[in-house]
C-alpha cells in the first residue's frame, strides 16, 4: 500500500505547507464547481423543458377557442344550408367574424411562438382552408349541406391536428410526469375530439326529426354518438387516473368532470333517442340542442380547466426545479464555502502551529531555551508542541543542571588547579631537595626550561638552554662532539635494542666543578616537546660517596699494609735497611762511578723496580707511588737520548732526588704503621713487638671492613701472631699450685701442663683461663690431703695435680685432676642445705651426680672459701659461667678417697675450622633445600637423605642425568646433582621450561635449572654466604651408567628416594 502513496508523499514533501494546502484546496473546489455546474445544467434543462410546454398550453388555449367557434360555425352553417336558419346570413356573418377573431388570436400567438413550435405553416394552411370555407358558404344548398358539414368537419380535424402538433412540438405530449401526461393527452386528443364530436352531434341534430332519419344517417349519427361515448370514457379515464394520483387536481377538476359526465351522456342519450325515434321519447329539438350546447360548454370548461391544471402542474414543477436548483446551488456553494472556510482555518491552524514550532526550534537552536510554544490545538501538533515544550523544559532543566555542575566543576577545577599548583610546588620542592639534579633535553640537545635546583648547585649556574655536551665536558671539544653524535643517534635510532646499546656508551660519571657526578639517563615522553621524546638526566653528587669509598679503600690498604708488615716483619725491616742503603750509598756511588750512563740508569731502574715490587707486596702505597714516578722519570730520560745521559748530566738530573727526599717517601707509610702498631714495633729491629690489644683492634677492623674472602686471606696470618697456645695461658698455675700446697703443708709432686699447643685467641679464653685458677686452688687446698692423712689412707705422701689439654676435632678438652680425697656427695648436700641453696628434703632426693652439680651453684662459694670445714666447691660458679660464655661443657669424675677429675670441653671458633669442613657446612642447608625443592616441585613422596659411602678409587657413580656445579668463594668445591629420569621428568612437568628442544637437551636443562634453584635457596639460608659464595653451572650430561672421576681429596654423597626414582647429591672438595 505504502508504495502506492510514495509518489504523493514525495511530492508533498517537496512543498511548503502553504502549497500543500493550496493544492488540495484547489482540487476540492474544482470538483465541487464541476458538480454544481452539472447539477444546475440538468435542472435548467428540465426548467427549459417545462417552459416550452407552456408555449403549447398558450397555443392550445387560443386554438380551443377557435375550435369551439369553428364547430359552432359548422352547426350554424349546416343549419343555414338546410335553410332552417331564421337569422340567416347576418348570423352567419357574425359567426364568421367570431371565427376570424379567434383565428386572429391564434395568429397573434403564433407570431410569438410559431417559430418555436413550427406551427406557422400549418396555421397558414388552416387559414387558407377557412377562407375557402367562407367562400363556399353561399354555394351550398340544403342538398349539399352535408358536404359542407363534412368539409367543415375536416377543417376542424385540421385544427385538432394543429393542436396536437403544437402539443408535440412543445413537449407537452412528451411530458415525463404522469399527471401532466394524462392531462395533456386529454387536452390534446380526447377533449378536442369530444368537442368536435359533440359539435357534430349538435349540428346534425338540426335535421333530425323523430324517426325520420335514413338508415345511413341513422348509422352515421349512432357512430358519432358512439364516438362521443368512447371519447368521453377515454377522457374520463384519463381524468380519473390523474385524480387518483393528485388530490389537488381532483378537487379542482372534479366538479367540471362530473358536469361533463352528467351533461354529455344525457345529450348522447337524447341524441340517440332522437335518432332512434321509434323507441325513444319525443324529444323536442330545442331540448336536444340545449343539452348539446351545455355538454359542449361543460367540455370546453373542462378543457380550459385542464389546461389550467396542466399549467399549474408545470408551474409547480418549474418552481420545484428552480427551488431544487437553488437549493443545490446554495447548498453546494454553502458547503464549499464552509469547506473553504474550515480548510483555511485548518491551514492556518496547522501552518500557525508548524510555523510556531519552527520559530520555537529556531530560537531554541539559537540558545533561547526559555521559549515555549502556545498549545493552540488538541491535535498532534498540539501534543507535539506540548512534547517540545516539555523537551525544552527538560533541556532547560538539564542546561541549568549542566551549568550548575559546570560551575561546580569550575570551582572544583580551580581547587584542583590550586592543589596541582600546590602539589607541583611541593613536587618541585621535593625534586629540588632530593639531593639529585633533574634536567631534560630534547633533540636540540639543549637543557629544557625546567630543571631542579640541585642542577644549579652542581653546575654552579643556571643552565636553561645550555648545550648538554658543553655542560658535561666544558673543556673537551672532542668529547662534546662525541656526546652530541651519540645523543643524536639515540634520538633518531628506531631499533630499541640498538638505542639501549647506545645508551650504555654514555658516561655514567662525570667530574663537574671538582665534584664526582653520577649520571642516569631516561627516555621520557614529554607531550610538550616537539616530537614527544626527551632524555631526562638524573645527576647525583657522588663526591662524598667517592670520598667515603676512597677512605674505605685507603683504610683497607692500610690494614693490608699493616698485616703484611707485621707478618713479614723480617722482610720489612730488611727491605727498609736495603732501601736506606740504596738511597744513601748506592745511588750516589753509582752516579759517581765510571760505568756508562746507560748502565747506571739501567741499574737504578732495575733496583727501583725491585723496591717498587717489594714495597708493593708489603702494601706501602705512598712509597710505591713515588717509586713509580721515579720509574717514569728514568724511562723518560732513557728515551731522551744520549745527550741527556752524559756523565755530568746524570748527577745533575738526579740532584732533586736526594737521599733524604727518597727516604722521606717512606715517611707517610711509616707514620701510619707507627700509629697502628705503636712505636715499640720499630724500637727493636729484629724482634717483633706488637701489643696484642692493637692486633686485636686491627683484626676487628678487618672483619668489619673487608669481604669474607679477603678476611680469609689476611686474618689467619694476623691471628697467628696474636694467638697463643692455650697451655701458655695456664703456664702460671703449676707454680701457683705448688706454692699453695706448700703454704697449706701439703706435699706435692711437680705439677705440669701437658699439651695445649693449639693457638687460641687469648682475649677470648683468658677469662676462662683465669677462672680455672679456682679449680687449681681447690685441688691444692681442698683436694689434696695432708701427708699424714695420705699416709693414713695408704697413699704416698706426695699428692699429684695433673693438667692435660687434649686437642679434639672442633675444640679443646682441659683436664685437671688430683689424687686427693675426692668429693663426698653427702657433704655437698649438707653444705647446700647449710648455705640455703636448697632444703634438706630436696638435697636428699638428689642423685650423687646431681648433688655434685651443686658445687657450681652461685653462693656455694663465697665468704667461706677459707673455711677449712667447708670442704670443696669454692668459686666454681665463676668457672661455670665463663665456660658457658664460650659454649663449653664440663664433667666431674670423683671418688671419695681416690681423687677428683674435672673435664672442661671448649669449642673452637669457625676461623679455626679447616677449609674442608667449610664446604661440608654447605651440605646441611643444601640437603634441606634440595628436599624442600623436590617436595614443592614434584609432588612425589620424598624420603630422607641417606649418607652413602663413596666407593674408593676416586670414582663417583652417576644416575641418568647429572649436573656439575662449581662453588667458589669462601668455600669452594664442586656440587654434583645426579637424578633418575623419572625424577627429572616430574621436575620438568612442574617447571615452565617450554622451550622446544631435543628431549635429552630439554631434560638436561631442567636439571641444571633445578640445581641452580636449589643452590640459590641453600645459600640464602646461610646469610653470611650470600655474597661470599658463587655457584657456576659447569656442565650437564645425560648418560647411562656413567661415573665421574674426582681427583679432589674427598667426596661425600647423599641419596634421597623421590617417588619412583632417586636423586644423589655429592660434594667434592
Amino acid at each position: 500500500m505504502r508504495f502506492l502513496l510514495d509518489p504523493a508523499v514525495r511530492m508533498m514533501n517537496r512543498f511548503k505547507y502553504v502549497y500543500k494546502f493550496a493544492l488540495i484546496g484547489f482540487l476540492i473546489v474544482i470538483q465541487a464547481a464541476v458538480l454544481i455546474y452539472l447539477l444546475t445544467a440538468e435542472l435548467n434543462k428540465n426548467i427549459d423543458f417545462a417552459a416550452r410546454e407552456r408555449l403549447g398550453l398558450v397555443y392550445n388555449r387560443t386554438l380551443v377557442v377557435l375550435l369551439n367557434e369553428a364547430q359552432g360555425y359548422r352547426s350554424l352553417q349546416y343549419s343555414y344550408a338546410l335553410g332552417n336558419l331564421a337569422a340567416g346570413e347576418a348570423a352567419i356573418r357574425e359567426k364568421q367574424a367570431r371565427v376570424d377573431a379567434a383565428l386572429e388570436a391564434v395568429t397573434a400567438v403564433d407570431r410569438t411562438v410559431g417559430q418555436e413550435l413550427d406551427t406557422t405553416w400549418k396555421l397558414q394552411v388552416l387559414r387558407s382552408e377557412w377562407d375557402a370555407r367562407k367562400q363556399e358558404t353561399a354555394q351550398f344548398g340544403p342538398d349539399r349541406a352535408n358536404v359542407a358539414f363534412e368539409l367543415h368537419t375536416r377543417w376542424l380535424g385540421q385544427i385538432i391536428a394543429l393542436m396536437q402538433h403544437a402539443g408535440y412540438a412543445s413537449n407537452l405530449a412528451l411530458d415525463a410526469d404522469l399527471d401532466t401526461a394524462y392531462l395533456s393527452d386529454a387536452v390534446l386528443r380526447k377533449l378536442p375530439l369530444l368537442i368536435d364530436a359533440l359539435g357534430q352531434a349538435e349540428g346534425l341534430a338540426e335535421q333530425l326529426t323523430d324517426g325520420n332519419a335514413s338508415p345511413a344517417d341513422k348509422d352515421r349519427f349512432l357512430a358519432v354518438a358512439g364516438l362521443i361515448r368512447s371519447t368521453l370514457q377515454q377522457a374520463d379515464q384519463n381524468a380519473q387516473t390523474v385524480f387518483r394520483r393528485n388530490e389537488r387536481v381532483k378537487s379542482g377538476l372534479k366538479g367540471l368532470t362530473d358536469a361533463v359526465n352528467d351533461s354529455v351522456p344525457i345529450f348522447v342519450w337524447n341524441f340517440e333517442q332522437k335518432t332512434d325515434g321509434a323507441q325513444g321519447l319525443n324529444i323536442p329539438r330545442q331540448l336536444l340542442t340545449g343539452a348539446g350546447s351545455r355538454a359542449i360548454a361543460a367540455t370546453l370548461a373542462l378543457y380550459n380547466d385542464e389546461l389550467n391544471a396542466i399549467e399549474q402542474l408545470i408551474d409547480q414543477r418549474v418552481a420545484r426545479y428552480s427551488r431544487d436548483r437553488n437549493i443545490v446551488a446554495g447548498f453546494t456553494v454553502g458547503v464549499l464555502l464552509l469547506v473553504c472556510y474550515l480548510f483555511l482555518a485548518f491551514d492556518m491552524s496547522v501552518r500557525k502551529g508548524v510555523y510556531q514550532l519552527n520559530t520555537l526550534m529556531d530560537s531554541a537552536a539559537k540558545g533561547d531555551l526559555a521559549a515555549r510554544g502556545a498549545v493552540q490545538s488538541r491535535d498532534e501538533l498540539g501534543s507535539l508542541t506540548r512534547s517540545i515544550n516539555s523537551m525544552l523544559q527538560s533541556l532547560e532543566t538539564m542546561y541549568e543542571e549542566v551549568r550548575e555542575s559546570r560551575d561546580r566543576l569550575e570551582l572544583l577545577n580551580q581547587e584542583l588547579e590550586m592543589k596541582v599548583a600546590e602539589r607541583t610546588a611541593s613536587m618541585r620542592n621535593l625534586l629540588d631537595h632530593a639531593g639529585q639534579g633533574f634536567l631534560s633535553f630534547g633533540e636540540d640537545l639543549r637543557v629544557s626550561g625546567e630543571y631542579s635546583a640541585e642542577c644549579v648547585a652542581i653546575f654552579k649556574r643556571e643552565i636553561a638552554g645550555t648545550a648538554v655536551a658543553a655542560l658535561f665536558y666544558p673543556d673537551d671539544g672532542k668529547q662534546q662532539t662525541f656526546l652530541e653524535a651519540l645523543f643524536r643517534k639515540i634520538f633518531t635510532e628506531q631499533d630499541a635494542l640498538l638505542r639501549d646499546t647506545y645508551f650504555t656508551l654514555l658516561p655514567d660519571e662525570l667530574i663537574i666543578e671538582g665534584s664526582y657526578i653520577g649520571v642516569t639517563y631516561k627516555t621520557i615522553s614529554n607531550p610538550g616537546a616537539r616530537d614527544g621524546q626527551e632524555i631526562m638526566l638524573i645527576l647525583t653528587d657522588r663526591t662524598q660517596q667517592r670520598a667515603l669509598e676512597a677512605e674505605m679503600q685507603e683504610e683497607k690498604e692500610v690494614l693490608a699494609m699493616v698485616v703484611r708488615v707485621v707478618t713479614h716483619a723480617g722482610d720489612f725491616f730488611t727491605t727498609l735497611r736495603q732501601y736506606t742503603a740504596f738511597c744513601r750509598e748506592e745511588i750516589p756511588g753509582l752516579l759517581s762511578s765510571a760505568s756508562p750512563a746507560e748502565d747506571k740508569l739501567a741499574t737504578i731502574f732495575r733496583v727501583t723496580h725491585t723496591f717498587k715490587g717489594t714495597f708493593g707486596q708489603l702494601g706501602l702505597r705512598n712509597a710505591v707511588q713515588e717509586l713509580h714516578a721515579l720509574e717514569g722519570f728514568l724511562t723518560k730520560i732513557s728515551a731522551e737520548g744520549t745527550a741527556v745521559r752524559g756523565d755530568d748530566v746524570l748527577p745533575l738530573l738526579f740532584a732533586p732526588y736526594t737521599p733524604e727526599k727518597m727516604l722521606g717517601w717512606l715517611d707517610e707509610d711509616m707514620a701510619t704503621l707507627k700509629d697502628t702498631l705503636g712505636d715499640a714495633f720499630f724500637a727493636q729491629e729484629n724482634t717483633l713487638v706488637v701489643d696484642g690489644a692493637k692486633l686485636r683492634a686491627i683484626e676487628e677492623k678487618m672483619e668489619r671492613l673487608l669481604a669474607p674472602a679477603e678476611c680469609r686471606q689476611l686474618i689467619p696470618a694476623l691471628q697467628s701472631l696474636r694467638y697463643k697456645p692455650f697451655a701458655e695461658m695456664l703456664q702460671a698455675y703449676p707454680e701457683y699450685v705448688m706454692s699453695l700446697a706448700d703454704k697449706y703443708g701439703k706435699m706435692i709432686n711437680q705439677v705440669a701442663v701437658e699439651g695445649g699447643e693449639t693457638p687460641v685467641d687469648p682475649f677470648k679464653y683468658s677469662h676462662f683461663a683465669k677462672a680455672l685458677g679456682h679449680v687449681f686452688r681447690n685441688a691444692a687446698i681442698h683436694g689434696l690431703e695432708t701427708p699424714d692423712e695420705r699416709l693414713a689412707a695408704g697413699k704416698v705422701e706426695n699428692g699429684s695435680v695433673h693438667c692435660r689439654i687434649l686437642e679434639q676435632v672442633d675444640g679443646l678438652m682441659v683436664i685437671i685432676a688430683d689424687d686427693g680425697r675426692g668429693i663426698d656427695p653427702d657433704r655437698i648436700r649438707a653444705i647446700a642445705v647449710d648455705k640455703g641453696i636448697c632444703d634438706k628434703q630436696a638435697a636428699a632426693s638428689l642423685s650423687d651426680a646431681a648433688a655434685m652439680e651443686l658445687i657450681f651453684a652461685d653462693g656455694f662459694s663465697g665468704a667461706d672459701e677459707v673455711d677449712e670445714l667447708a670442704g670443696r666447691g669454692v668459686g666454681l660458679s665463676a668457672v661455670r659461667s665463663e665456660l658457658a660464655k664460650l659454649g663449653g661443657s664440663l664433667k666431674i669424675d670423683t671418688a671419695v678417697g681416690r681423687g677428683t677429675e674435672f673435664r672442661f670441653y671448649l669449642p673452637l671458633p669457625n676461623w679455626e675450622i679447616p677449609e674442608a669442613d667449610s664446604l661440608l657446612a654447605v651440605a646441611k642447608p643444601l640437603l634441606e633445600a634440595a628436599k624442600d625443592f623436590l617436595v614443592r616441585n614434584t609432588g612425589l613422596a620424598v624420603g630422607e637423605w641417606a649418607h652413602t659411602d663413596s666407593p674408593a678409587e676416586g670414582k663417583l657413580p652417576l644416575r641418568k642425568i647429572t649436573t656439575f656445579v662449581d662453588i667458589k668463594g669462601v668455600v669452594s668445591g664442586k656440587l654434583v646433582v645426579s637424578a633418575d629420569e623419572a625424577v627429572v621428568r616430574r621436575l620438568a612437568a612442574a617447571g615452565d621450561s617450554a622451550v622446544p628442544l631435543a628431549e635429552d637437551k630439554w631434560m638436561e636443562g631442567v636439571l641444571a635449572q633445578s640445581a641452580g634453584k636449589i643452590i640459590t635457596e641453600a645459600l640464602s639460608r646461610v646469610p653470611r654466604w650470600v655474597d661470599a659464595v658463587r655457584a657456576e653451572a659447569l656442565i650437564t650430561i645425560l648418560a647411562e651408567d656413567a661415573s665421574a672421576k674426582y681427583p679432589q681429596a674427598a667426596a661425600l654423597t647423599w641419596t634421597l628416594a623421590a617417588g619412583p626414582g632417586r636423586i644423589n647429591l655429592s660434594l667434592l672438595y
Binding site: 635494542l497 646499546t501 656508551l505
Partner: protein, 128 residues
C-alpha cells in the same frame, strides 16, 4: 643454539669465547685471527653471529663490519672491545654492529649480549 664465528687476534681470547659460547650450547663454527679470514669465512658460511675484536692488526673492526654488511646487510656482529674505546664502539655501532661487550669478558655478560642480539634478530622481520 646459534652458529657463531669468533674473530679475535688473541688466541687466549678466542679460546675463552669459544669455551663460554659452547658451554651455553652455541656452535662455534670457526675462529678467525684477522679481518680477511673473517670476511672470507662469512661469505662462504654465513654464520648466525660474529663476535668481532674491534682492534686487530690489519683491517680494523669497523672496516670488517662494513665488508660483512656488504655481504649480508643483516649480519649480526657483536663487538668485543677494551674499556675506554667508546668512540670506536660508537663508530662500529653506527656502521651496523648490533651490540658490544667490554673486556674483561665474563660469561654472564657475553651470553646476555649474544642472546639478546640473536633474539632481537629473530623478532625483526628480515627483508626479502
Amino acid at each position: 643454539m646459534a652458529r657463531i664465528l669468533i674473530v679475535d687476534d688473541s688466541m687466549m681470547m678466542r679460546k675463552t669465547l669459544r669455551t663460554i659460547l659452547q658451554r651455553a650450547g652455541h656452535i662455534v663454527t670457526a675462529e678467525a685471527a684477522n679481518g680477511d679470514q673473517a670476511i672470507m669465512y662469512y661469505a662462504n658460511h654465513r654464520p648466525d653471529l660474529v663476535t668481532l675484536d674491534i682492534t686487530m692488526p690489519g683491517m680494523n673492526g669497523t672496516e670488517v663490519i662494513k665488508k660483512l654488511r656488504e655481504i649480508d646487510p643483516d649480519a649480526n656482529v657483536v663487538i668485543v672491545s677494551a674499556l675506554g674505546q667508546k668512540h670506536i664502539i660508537f663508530e662500529a655501532l653506527q656502521n651496523g654492529a648490533k651490540n658490544y661487550i667490554l673486556k674483561p669478558i665474563t660469561e654472564d655478560k657475553l651470553l646476555a649480549v649474544v642472546n639478546m642480539v640473536l633474539t632481537h634478530s629473530c623478532d625483526s622481520p628480515t627483508p626479502a
